[in-house]
Amino acid sequence: MRFLDLEDEERTEAFPHSLSMDSSRRSFEPIPLAREEGWLLAQAFAVETHGLTKQYSTGVLAVNNLDLRVRVGEVYGFLGPNGAGKTTTLRLLSGLLHPTSGTAIVAGATPGSPASLAQMGAMVETPAFYPYLSGRDNLRVIARYASIPKSRIEPVLKLVDLTDRARYKFKTYSTGMKQRLGVAAALLKGPDLLILDEPTSGLDPQGTIEMRALIKELKTGGRTVLLSSHLLNEVELTCDRVGVIAKGKLVAEGTVDELRARSGGIALLVRATPLDQARRLLESVLKPEHVRVDGSALVLSVDPSQAASINRRLVADGVDVSELRVSEQSLEDVFLQLTENPQGPKA
């Protein structure tokens, strides 16, 4: 916490990555790392799990033999459909749940240990605070638990644009304000590792844009961010790498481009009349699994160099082709492919 002893001028010098945004609503100041040296320099991974498994007493296998590696300094997106095991995984990494089997190292230490907790800030699932306390007093309570000087509270309140409402009780907050207070609490320690569960949930469009910008900027100085989300667009815009979890298993991991490439990546989009005749013809020429109907068009998982021959074939068979172009698969397509067929190998 040496940062706290520095004067303003010295702070700028020590942490030159001042964050600024176009928005007039707020300007970001650097949230310094809790310490500049330590586990961060010695580790390749901020989070590393081996065979992590959690089976609840009800018999539900929420996390199944999960091997996850989040590199130091990256923004890692944790994607998965509802019930895939995302939040359970984050709870395991935060020490809130005890694993059934497997191991995990978080910020260089066992999850839930003081050494690990001191280096991480987390917002897991719903932001949970004391309803009878104000936003500021809730942060004071957290600061006391974490042995953090209360001088850290105002900067994080300003960062999440809650300064004006900080004196109001938490129970009067809107969903978006609760979410922002949750992020403020996670940032209070100036953690090396930030774990955020659905951080833009409940935010208005402007708040969502600013939160994404904040997340990207937070990794400045080597901070690692692990965020779970069901918003594919958010992950695509924010994350360096993505892990996709389905039924408790990690089914794919890599950059967004790598995942696209893995599941076909580039495709051909064909708009033709009659569509059924075109589909039957292409399924006979190509493999049926390479032909998919997407609304009024066909999406073909083939090499784009085949476009001309496919066009010739369709025309020769009396099909009118009104559009034929290369289509890049969206992350949503990739996500659906991966989560509907979780048996596929990892990228």
């Binding site: 009800t58 809130l96 749940l97 003081p114 991480m120 897991v124 699932e125 719903t126 957290i142 042995s147």
Partner: protein, 279 residues
């Protein structure tokens, strides 16, 4: 643990429900224990008075008897209020999910729990002080209004009584906190705790006190042991319905200390092992 203690004291101080509980406790002592009896004894016609003269009954309210009076309040309303206080303190963390917020800060789970129990202990001492001061002021007011004279108990008696009061309140607070952790629900913890206090301790403790087998079981109950400690303090007018104590005051102190340790240890055991969140 110190960090958690500081956080817990801030929460306890800012929580209105705690101040309301203390208000109810003090109002009970001042209004029901002192004012009501004072008015009944002073204003009721002689025809409805029993064989004991009003002037003698009234002495129960005077400074010479304020120690046993406040200890008896501790055994009934004091037990209920501090049990609710302890249960709210722990069960609310599960209800609001704030348990996960505090467990992902720096301290260990044990550190968080010991900080919480330490803060509850401090609050219990302060509640004990408030009860003593309220009872002393009421006693002083009663004797002044009556125009009588009454001696205060010796300092060593007051100090021992204060210790006895805090010990009893601490056991009920710890019991409430344990139930809150075990049930993870304030309603279940308070409902279960109050049912135990009033059905098992008060009802069965009075009705089946002479039944041989039950009597042996009763000897181990915290309320019965608390009563034995209270009965050890001198009172100038004893209630004619007062019952013989089942255990000695010394055994009562030891039993309550054991309960304090057991409730704390059991709470820690559950707190350490419990998964937070998930199904």
């Amino acid at each position: 643990m110190i960090a958690s203690f500081r956080a817990e004291t801030l929460k306890n101080r800012k929580r209105w429900a705690n101040w309301i509980l203390i208000g109810i406790l003090l109002a009970w002592i001042l209004l029901l224990t002192y004012l009501t009896l004072f008015l009944v004894v002073t204003l009721s016609p002689k025809s409805i008075q029993g064989p004991v003269p009003a002037s003698v009954i009234k002495r129960r309210l005077f400074p010479e008897n304020f120690v046993p009076t406040v200890l008896q309040a501790a055994a009934s309303i004091g037990a209920a209020i501090t049990l609710i206080f302890g249960a709210l303190s722990t069960a609310s963390e599960f209800g609001w999910l704030t348990v996960q917020t505090i467990l992902i800060q720096k301290p260990t789970r044990a550190g968080v729990l010991f900080g919480k129990f330490l803060a509850l202990g401090l609050a219990t001492v302060l509640v004990g002080v408030a009860m003593f001061v309220a009872a002393a002021l009421a006693s002083y007011t009663a004797v002044t209004l009556d125009g009588s004279s009454s001696a205060w108990p010796a300092w060593d008696v007051i100090l021992k009584a204060f210790g006895a009061l805090v010990l009893q309140l601490a056991v009920w607070t710890a019991f409430g906190a344990f139930l809150g952790i075990a049930f993870r629900s304030a309603a279940a913890a308070i409902g279960g705790g109050l049912t135990y206090v009033f059905v098992v301790e008060v009802l069965l403790g009075n009705l089946l006190r002479t039944t041989p087998i039950v009597k042996e079981v009763l000897k181990f109950l915290p309320g019965i042991n608390g009563d034995a400690i209270t009965a050890a303090f001198p009172v100038t007018i004893r209630d004619s319905s007062a019952q013989t104590q089942l255990v000695t005051a010394g055994r009562g102190v030891v039993t309550l200390l054991v309960y304090l340790v057991v409730f704390t240890a059991a709470s820690l055991l559950i707190w350490q092992r419990r998964d937070v969140g998930g199904s």
